[in-house]
Amino acid sequence: MGILEIKGVNKRFGGLQALGDVNLSIAENTVHAIIGPNGAGKSTLLNVLVGKLIPDSGSVMFDGHSVLGRQPFEINQMGISRVFQTPEIFADLTVFENVMIPCFAKRDGAFRLHALGSVGHETDIHETAEAILEDVNMLEKRHMIASSLSRGDKRRLEMAMCLVQEPRLLLLDEPTAGMARADTNNTIDLLKEIKAKRDITMAIIEHDMHVVFSLAERITVLAQGTALVEDTPENIKGHPKVREAYLGEAQV
């Protein structure tokens, strides 16, 4: 029984069957990659997982509770954090403030009227935030405005914002899209470090095979809205169906 269980999920946009009877199980503490050619339904699936889309049928259970019909903030409060394709951060705030906000959200829930408290006196939150910035090597940049960070640092910051909440499942939507090779490798190293330091389940949606095969312990291949095959990276590499559907003539 995985931490995330997707059963028989269907989603139609007009005449297009974006997801057709997708079944997927992600085991706890694994790095699970979801790959597939353009239009395979990867983004649709991700949007279903985070509550942005509601499927026409099927079930999505996280740790025994359905996520369907819930708002993104409720799903986050259940323990799922999401990293976006382009880093979504609070650009006008400092790095430190960026990390403190998810700490407050984790501690205080979706809403709390702490209007007469003082951010400056929240020592516990400060310690947690400093620890995570230390972890991603950004402590010395804590007073910088987030918009002035480099792209790689923005990615690090976003990771820190998600990790500081100690999510049980981290969803990564093409975390290296549009990155130069060096940045991609840095991101891979960062994710490996993160995985080594804590128990966390990661679901990565990715195009870049280099990233996928560097990180993933399990791989699911989506094609034309269905989960074609799920296996270990070694087996996926040589799988004839995968070659046919996804890789075409290309070598891995």
Binding site: V50, Q71, P72, F73, N76, Q77, S81, R82, F84, E88, I89, F90, A91, D92, L93, T94, E97, M100, I101, P102, F104, A105, K106, D108, G109, A110, F111, R112, L113, H114, A115, L116, G117, S118, V119, G120, H121, E122, H143, M144, I145, S147, S148, M161, C162, Q165
Partner: protein, 400 residues
């Protein structure tokens, strides 16, 4: 001090001193001097400074922190005034029930208007708040509620005021002007010294104390976790949703708090002068609040108060300058030239004060996007002979 950091405490103390000493500080010219018309230290104007100060402090909690531009905030001001005058009519001239009711009524309306308007953001939110405010203005101006009930509620064009035959159940033989447990609002003490005459007015000091309290609460909100989340709403609502924060209740709370500030301001306006009319809710009044905030510096603590001060000063001082006065200034010039100069100055004074305000506003928006606060920071940086701080670090905290 009082849970504020050092910088905020300094700012707070400066504001307290300014409020306390304003009747002296804003009266720099002797009564008989040619410049005495530039004196702003008279009660009617001082009251406006602090009451509109309260209004924009509250507006800034919404607009400055969350970036949601309410274009109908004057509706809450008007509601507060109507509620207060009704308390005078029904109970007595004691301002306590009047001010309590004005805050409560505005708060309740803000819950409803906010609940509906906050379903949209950006320009649509602004338009929704504008629509609500204009509807309320129309209802008040035509006294629709009063027509349904059969007796005046807002009293239409005439405006609402207290009449001798009003019930005033608790009046007894108490004062017949607004008072705080017998301490009359229009009482004052005049201090004549040298050529100067300083007026210390009860109503002004009461409103001033309310402004100081409002300012203190605003500082605390700005520095609280709640304030941080409001600022992050302005920055990236999507991210906030995906880290587990429900933005709607935060926005609604901010909207209601700022509506209650406006209600307090409305109640105080009525406490200074117990009559009101629908025009207080008109959209130009809402626009004025926006202009005050932007002129002073949106999202800064002190900026909106400065903006309110500058606009009220221009409205009350520049508008009183007429051609005769200007002739007096330039009488040293040869006749033809004098007339020419007066003709040039003419459109900008008296009724033309809006034109002057418009020009000032344009200059500020173009050259000082951070408002008057930015001007202050630049001057401060010049005098301290440090390198001017780069804009990024200037925006770190919405400090003064």
């Amino acid at each position: 001090m009082l849970g504020m950091n050092r910088k905020d405490t300094t700012l707070f103390i400066i504001v307290c001193l300014m409020v306390m000493l304003a009747p002296i500080l804003l009266n720099p010219f002797p009564t008989e001097s040619a410049f005495s018309q530039f004196n702003a230290g008279y009660p009617a104007l001082l009251q406006r400074f602090v009451i509109f100060g309260i209004l924009v402090i509250g507006f800034n909690i919404l607009f400055g922190l969350t970036g949601y531009l309410s274009f109908g905030h004057a509706a809450f001001l008007g509601l507060g005034s109507f509620a207060a005058v009704w308390m005078f009519k029904l109970l007595s001239y004691n301002i306590v029930p009047a001010i309590v009711l004005s805050v409560v009524v505005s708060g309740l309306f803000a819950v409803v208007i906010g609940y509906v308007s906050l379903r949209r953001s950006g320009i649509y939110f602004s338009i929704l708040t504008l629509a609500f405010a204009q509807m309320m203005y129309s209802i008040a101006y035509s006294d629709l509620v009063g027509k349904v009930l059969g007796f005046p509620i807002t009293n239409g064009e005439t405006g609402l005021q207290v009449y001798n035959n009003d019930p005033q159940f608790l009046l007894g033989d108490g004062p017949t002007t607004p008072h705080l447990f017998g301490w009359e609002m229009n009482g004052s003490f005049t201090w004549d010294i040298g050529g100067w005459s300083f007026v210390f007015h009860n109503g002004y000091y009461l409103a001033g104390l309310f402004m100081i309290a409002s300012f203190y609460i605003a500082i605390r909100i700005f520095r609280s976790p709640f304030g941080l989340i409001l600022r992050s709403i302005k920055s990236n609502q999507q991210r906030l949703n995906y880290i587990g924060v429900s933005t709607r209740p935060y926005m609604l709370t901010a909207f209601v708090i700022s509506g209650m500030y406006a209600g307090l301001a409305g109640g105080l306006l009525a406490a200074m002068d117990p009559l009101t009319g629908a025009e207080r809710m008109f959209w130009t009044a809402s626009g004025e609040i926006v202009i005050m905030s932007i002129l002073g510096g949106v999202g800064t603590l002190i900026g909106p108060i400065l903006g309110a001060g500058v606009i009220k000063y221009m409205e009350n001082i520049i508008s009183t300058i007429n051609d005769t006065v200007v002739h007096g200034w330039f009488s040293f010039m040869p006749d033809g030239l004098e007339d020419f100069v007066v003709a040039i100055v003419h459109p900008f004074i008296g009724k033309g004060w809006h034109l002057t305000l418009g020009l000032v506003f344009m200059v500020v928006v173009i050259f000082l996007p951070g408002g008057l606060v930015e001007l202050g920071q630049r001057i401060g940086a010049k005098f301290s002979r440090k390198k001017p701080t780069d804009p990024a670090s200037g925006a770190t905290t919405p400090a003064e």
